[in-house]
């Protein structure tokens, strides 16, 4: 789950990271009131779940209240890479003498949290990684010990060899970020940039956190951080129904059991010149209710011209699955063609059941995909 800058900063602040004050406004008047409260100059920052906000004009420095009014007005409602700005963060502006990048993520190869830091702060780390990979310092964190004092200090001194006080602040920030990462069950946590003011005080002036969906169950408070307005309605409905769904822009709706097979199905639609409308994993169950939910979500998309079930019956029996699909389609009013491919245990029985319906049976993935593309094009 991705969360907004202001939410990430709240998590950071609760772990003692030096985050400037700030509050969120949803209207220009609220923004102005906040700016009056914090004092000038201040920043008005769009809160959207995408990068590149600065380039898009979504982050503005405001020396006067008139600027706050003007920029908040422009930014609220702005479309940044398809994300509509509904909130702005108003936060005191700080003078920047130097900028650093500090980030952590899960490193699949070491199976550990990896700390990355760079003196090239304020730019996207992927860009630094491409153009100047040596500028990124790395430290793999042993989970048994956490980020040790000397590891953090070594990083701090390498980032800031000329000023031990700043190195200490960077080191402390890294150790706090690690605790925040682990305790919040993050999958990514970035401070970009961590800055020093001319008087040498460090501040985390931007924050990015992705939370591990698998761990949300032990952070009941985090569900409230979810920005429901920013979520695709279909993806939201799927999440609430316990389905794994990603909206795409094609016209062949796909319902598949298993994530890998679902991706392979999308790829095959594409291979045969079609366009998948979605990724959807309905899981191993033959529960008609789950199928109804999945179909409802897919049919919300007016672009969908055909529906493709690709089910590999392993432990689940194909006749059970067929019955589930038949019941679900009977409960709904569906006016696009449905192709069903069923393979595996009790395959023949499953297909026999389908034969009595208006559903289009298919024996192989390739046949099913080609048939669905053809029906969608009609």
């Amino acid at each position: 789950m991705n969360i907004h800058e202001y939410q990430a900063k709240e998590i950071f602040a609760s772990h003692g990271l030096p985050v400037p004050g700030g509050k969120v406004a949803t209207t220009v008047d609220e923004a102005v009131a906040l700016a009056n409260g914090f004092g000038l100059p201040c920043m008005v920052k769009s809160q959207v779940l995408t990068g590149g906000r600065g380039k898009a004009g979504g982050i503005k420095f405001c020396p006067t209240i008139d600027d706050v009014r003007k920029h908040a007005g422009n930014i609220l409602g702005m479309d940044i890479k398809g994300h509509i700005v509904r909130k702005v963060l108003v936060t005191p502006a700080v003078d920047i003498a130097s900028e650093y990048y500090v980030g952590m993520l899960i490193d699949r190869n070491t199976k550990r949290v990896l700390l990355m830091a760079s003196a090239e702060g304020g730019v996207e780390i992927e860009q630094v990684a491409k153009e100047n990979p040596d500028a990124i310092l790395k430290q793999s964190i042993d989970p048994r010990y956490g980020l040790l004092d000397h590891e953090a200090m070594d990083m701090g001194l390498r980032l800031c060899p000329e000023d031990v006080k700043k190195a200490r602040q960077l080191a402390a920030a890294m150790q706090k970020l690690y605790r925040a990462f682990v305790e919040a069950d993050a999958s990514l946590a970035e401070i970009n940039p961590f800055i020093f003011t001319p008087d040498g005080t460090g501040h985390a002036i931007d924050a990015k956190v992705n939370l591990d969906d698998n761990a949300l169950f032990r952070h009941p408070g985090y569900e409230a951080l979810r920005d429901l307005e920013a979520e695709d309605p279909g993806e939201r409905a799927a999440r609430e129904a316990g389905l794994s769904f990603v909206k795409l822009s094609g016209n062949v709706g796909c319902l598949v059991n298993g994530a890998g097979l679902a991706m392979a199905t999308m790829d095959l639609v594409n291979y045969y010149g079609g366009q998948p409308a979605n990724f959807l994993d309905i899981g191993g169950s033959s529960n008609p209710e789950k199928v109804v939910n999945a179909l409802t979500i897919i049919l919300e998309d007016p672009e969908v011209k055909a529906i493709l079930f690709n089910i590999f019956g392993g432990i689940t029996r194909c006749d059970d699955v067929a019955n589930g699909i038949i019941k679900a389609t009977q409960m709904m009013d569906i006016n696009v063609p449905i192709v069903v491919r069923l393979t595996g245990t009790n395959e023949a029985e499953g297909r026999a059941l389908l034969a009595k319906t208006a559903l289009h049976p298919a024996q192989t993935m390739d046949e099913a995909v080609q048939k669905a593309i053809e029906l969608a094009g009609k």
Partner: protein
């Protein structure tokens, strides 16, 4: 012969009294797997299916029954703890089927498993099925067949699809192994490939990858350097949009890396044919495999 299991594999099922645990334990036993014990705290003293003793702790199960392998079906909140319990009790192979285990838990559990000298498969995986030897996990027994091909995959049903095609083409398997789709997993492609390469019964193998991470690239480099056996690959997720998690927690293109295109390129550069469609895997394998 197979990788990771043999006829001495003696299984304790953690979470045997749960719905999924019970169902799949019956399936494993039906296939002839030696399930010698179950474990559910508070259920010690019961019998599963009237014959398999249930213990409160894995330690007891190991002491009383000589179990050396654990298959885990406990809920996500306790899964990493269950892995550590199995490792501490002396299980040398641990297969964690549970989906939805927090990544930070796995990060913590991993060095513990290593220190105890156990092999972990999963979590969030279908487990492993060595035809004629043992079934550890949820891979359907109906689709496999004994034979000379190894198969390793990050996926579940996509694996079944490929196994089904192998079997249909008369190509039986030494071991079908699902390593799981999470970012942090125990046994990875490299470990599996090393094992297949060393297994005399495995004459050729198939690797089913997907988007996210660089495990396929690492495997490609290893195969190029060390493997003489025929290998064919398939990568799922060519059409996945960046930044979106495709079902599996680990299946995500982030920061422009982990794409199917990159993986395909790395594999082909290592001389490994990459099938465009699942149905192309068997023909490609037959093409390069001079039996």
């Amino acid at each position: 012969m197979a990788i990771f299991v043999d006829k001495d594999t003696r299984v304790v099922v953690q979470g045997i009294t749960g719905r999924d645990g019970g169902f799949h334990t019956r399936e494993m036993m039906a296939y002839g797997t030696r399930v010698v014990a179950g474990c559910t705290p508070g259920r010690g003293g019961q019998k599963f299916e009237g014959s398999v003793p249930v213990f409160d702790t894995v330690k007891q199960a190991v002491q009383e029954t000589g179990a050396n392998t654990s298959v885990i079906f406990v809920p996500p909140a306790g899964a990493a703890g269950a892995i550590m319990e199995a490792a501490d009790a002396g299980c040398t192979l641990i297969v964690c089927i549970t989906e939805g285990v927090p990544t930070v838990d796995m990060v913590k559990a991993w060095p513990y498993v290593q220190e105890k000298g156990a092999r972990l498969i999963g979590p969030n995986c279908p487990g492993l099925l060595a035809p004629g030897i043992a079934k550890l996990g949820i891979l359907p027994a109906s689709i496999v067949k004994e034979g000379p091909v190894g198969l390793v995959s990050r996926s579940g049903t996509l694996t079944y699809e490929v196994v089904f095609q192998l079997t249909a083409a008369g190509l039986g398997q030494t071991t079908c192994l699902g390593i799981g789709g999470d970012p942090v997993i125990g046994t990875n492609f490299l470990d599996a490939i090393e094992a297949f390469n060393a297994d005399p019964a495995t004459e050729a193998f198939v690797m089913i990858g997907e988007i996210g991470g660089d495990a396929e690239e690492k495997a490609a480099a290893y195969i190029k350097a060390h493997v003489k056996k025929p290998v064919v690959s398939f990568i799922a997720g060519r059409t996945a949009p960046p930044g979106k998690r495709m079902g599996h927690a680990g299946a995500i293109v982030s920061g422009g890396s982990g794409t199917a295109a990159e993986k395909k390129k790395a594999l082909e550069a290592a001389g490994i044919p990459v099938a465009d469609r699942p149905m192309d895997i068997v023909p490609k394998l037959k093409e390069i495999w001079k039996r």
